[in-house]
């Protein structure tokens, strides 16, 4: 029986006069999407296990504005950014961690010029730091020796130059990490970025997620590791499309760590 999740909001902390060490920015997908909620919970279990004093914004969190901005709606982006920054600054937030590379990119890179300056980490960076500081111990568990391939999220990898943190965490599982031909700087997009998540693809002869899933499945790995809720959805759909459902699974790195530790 897993432990109940321990989650407090910024408002809770403020009421009790405490300051959390980090704010967990959940993001819309992590809050509302059935699949991504599992990632949110897995990451919370890791934070609980490591005794991290973290807060969430709860009802006060709003879309960062990433999809609106990439879809050309700068006014809407600015509205969202302004609201979020007002709330974050109101609570005096200094450090933020998020499991979504799109939220990560926007808050880290696009909020500072608008007055929102925070230390922003992707959850794979945060987990990697927890492991290095010895705050959580990771052993391979059921993943020992399994072939795992990692799909680089564009907004984490090429976008922000982080290729190593997710891989370092995966190696802690004693798994056999196999790389796709297109990885790191050459990684192929899952097809969801730039507001594609909210629209049908233009006419073509193939879906991008199928192209990518074929490559991932081609490595022989039965686990495709992801670090982004968008990629996760696209690859999960891709696995179904290529007829590998039930044989190949797509898991977020937080889920792999939580499962390995039976959290």
């Amino acid at each position: 029986m897993p432990q109940p999740l321990q989650v407090k909001t910024m408002a809770d902390y403020t009421a009790s006069g405490e300051t959390p060490e980090v704010l967990f920015w959940i993001g819309c997908m992590g809050s509302f999407d059935d699949r991504a909620r599992k990632i949110t919970k897995a990451f919370v279990r890791i934070l609980n296990k490591a005794n991290v004093k973290f807060a969430v914004l709860g009802q006060e969190e709003g879309c960062t504005g990433d999809p609106a901005r990439r879809a050309g709606n700068e006014f809407l982006f600015q509205m969202q950014a302004l609201q979020n920054i007002t709330i974050l600054n109101g609570y005096g937030v200094k450090r933020i961690v998020t499991a979504c590379p799109h939220c990560f990119n926007t808050v880290k890179n696009e909020y500072p010029v608008l007055g929102g300056q925070y230390e922003v980490m992707h959850h794979t960076q945060f987990i990697n730091a927890l492991i290095k500081e010895g705050r959580i111990k990771v052993e391979g568990g059921s993943f020992k020796g399994k072939r795992i391939t990692f799909h680089d999220p564009c907004y984490l990898g090429r976008g922000n130059g982080e290729y190593e943190a997710p891989r370092e965490v995966l190696l802690k599982l004693d798994a056999a990490l196999v790389e796709m031909k297109r990885s790191k700087e050459k990684g192929l997009c899952c097809g969801a970025g730039g507001a594609q998540m909210w629209k049908e693809a233009e006419k073509g002869d193939k879906e991008v997620n199928v192209e990518r899933t074929e490559e991932a499945v081609g490595t022989g790995a039965k686990i495709i590791a992801a670090g982004c809720p968008f990629c996760n959805t696209m690859l999960t759909d891709g696995v179904k499309a290529v007829g590998e459902e039930g044989k190949v699974v797509v898991k977020d790195i937080a889920e792999l760590i939580a499962e390995a530790g039976e959290l």
């Binding site: 989650v7 819309c28 809050s31 509302f32 999407d33 949110t40 919970k41 969430v56 709860g58 009802q59 006060e60 969190e61 879309c63 999809p67 609106a68 901005r69 990439r70 879809a71 050309g72 709606n73 700068e74 006014f75 600015q78 509205m79 969202q80 302004l82 609201q83 990119n105 890179n109 696009e110 010029v113 564009c154 907004y155 090429r158 976008g159 922000n160 130059g161 700087e185 050459k186 990684g187 192929l188 997009c189 097809g191 969801a192 970025g193 730039g194 507001a195 909210w198 629209k199 049908e200 693809a201 233009e202 006419k203 073509g204 002869d205 193939k206 879906e207 991008v208 192209e211 990518r212």
Partner: protein, 441 residues
């Protein structure tokens, strides 16, 4: 001064004049773009230029094309030392003015010859890759008649120039060994000595050889000056613009979008009425189009996007890694950049003709379709792949901004996303009260 020296000076001056005139036009066209500050972090910029442009670091990601390109690039740069001598000889009627360098001169000429041969071979392989093996990225949709011809012309000119250089040396070398007047003993000729033997130069009389040597000399130098003047009309302009274009690279994280300070200020003032709205945009200069939200035409792109357009050498590495293009969509980042240049040159021709800009009823959207723009995933595979740091994503996103903010024409289903963000503060249709429901399951 001899007639040939006067002739040479005239040709040289005309070539420099025409080239300068065209470069000034390119500069004028680039400066039609929107202002952008790109002079911060100069040390980092010099280092980047040294590595990426001078050091060709992104070229060798594809080893075959990369190494062949380095041969041609080194050949081009080093053989230009020889061109300096040719110019001096042309003006002063000397022959091999640098020959006083003695052993060093032999070393130089010898290595030029080897490089010339390698360049010749590399260009031949490039031609074969492009026109015989027909490598896919050279034959996609945007590679219409002119881009294909342009590539063929460039490679052929380089082969002809190298041929003339080597034949000139072959004749010169033979004349030297015959003890012909004026042809001082100088240089080492590892390649052209073989050529001279192959073509039987040793059996020809001195006047024929002088004819060949003079013809090749003039062909080589007129060819180079002609080639220089071909650059501004061609994709080959990259040999010059690659350097400044990399220097002015975007140094921010690739996925960081450009700011729109005016919109930010307006929204701030809307939310907090105590903050005054920003002053209205300055009136455009007479005859120039008004400022837009996003990009309708080249005037609305930053000057860096316009420099990108002139720097593109149409290698297609961007398109060959674009997820949209790989899956059969219309979008090709190379086409976006080529269309931008074509439109910019069209605008430039109007200004040339009328002396100022007059609306011609066309813009970027006359060439780039909405379907192309909406297919981009902003994954930045294209900007990563570009050997000279061109940023097609910037152009695409600027044009999307125009479509949405001035024309209310997003890709259809995106309106629903906008609405739910406006109403719920979420990208999906769930209210704030549902934000913590994941806890309950």
């Amino acid at each position: 001064m001899s007639i040939s020296a006067i002739l040479f000076l005239l040709v040289f001056a005309a070539a420099v004049w025409w080239f300068t005139r065209n470069v000034r036009k390119v500069r004028r066209n680039i400066l039609l773009g929107r202002d952008l500050q790109r002079t911060d972090r100069p040390a980092e910029r010099w280092a980047l230029m040294t590595k990426v442009a001078l050091g060709q670091s992104k070229m060798v990601v594809r080893p075959v094309a990369g190494l062949l390109h380095i041969v041609v690039y080194a050949g081009f740069i080093i053989i230009n030392i020889e061109v300096l001598e040719i110019i001096i000889d042309g003006i002063f009627g000397t022959h091999r003015a640098f020959s006083f360098l003695g052993g060093l001169y032999s070393l130089l000429i010898g290595s030029f010859e080897i490089l010339a041969l390698l360049t010749w071979l590399a260009c031949a392989i490039f031609l074969i890759r492009r026109f015989v093996l027909r490598i896919k990225r050279f034959w996609s949709r945007e590679m219409t008649a002119w881009p294909r011809t342009d590539a063929g012309v460039i490679l052929s000119i380089e082969i002809l120039l190298m041929t003339a250089f080597l034949l000139m040396n072959a004749a010169d070398h033979t004349l030297q060994s015959m003890g012909a007047e004026h042809y001082v003993q100088a240089g080492a000729f590892p390649v052209s000595a073989v050529l001279a033997g192959f073509f039987g130069f040793g059996t020809m009389d001195a006047s024929t050889l002088i004819g060949i040597e003079r013809f090749c000399w003039w062909f080589h130098i007129i060819g180079i000056l002609g080639f220089l003047n071909y650059l501004p009309y061609s994709k080959h302009f990259h040999i010059l613009l690659a350097f400044p274009n990399v220097w002015y690279s975007k140094l921010q994280p690739k996925t960081q979008m450009s700011d729109m300070p005016r919109v930010a200020a307006e929204v701030k003032s809307m939310v907090d009425p105590s903050i005054p709205p920003p002053p209205p945009p300055a009136e455009p200069e007479p005859g120039m189009p008004p400022e837009h939200f996003g990009a309708k035409d080249v005037f609305d792109l930053t000057w860096k996007s316009l420099m990108d357009a002139y720097t593109c050498t149409e290698c297609g590495r961007c398109t060959s890694v674009c997820p949209a293009n790989l899956t059969g969509k219309l979008l090709s980042p190379r086409k976006i950049v080529m269309d931008t240049r074509d439109r910019l040159e069209e605008v430039g021709r109007v200004i040339d003709k009328k002396g100022k800009w007059e609306d011609d009823g066309k813009d970027l959207f006359s060439r780039i379709s909405e379907e192309e723009l909406w297919a981009c995933t902003t994954c930045n595979a294209c900007t990563q792949a570009c050997p000279v740091n061109i940023d097609p994503v910037e152009i695409i996103l600027d044009m999307r901004r125009f479509l949405v903010m001035e024309q209310s024409k997003p890709s259809p289903s995106l309106n629903a996303m906008f609405t739910t963000i406006e109403n719920n503060g979420a990208a999906w249709a769930f209210g704030p009260d549902k934000r913590m429901e994941w806890m309950k399951e």
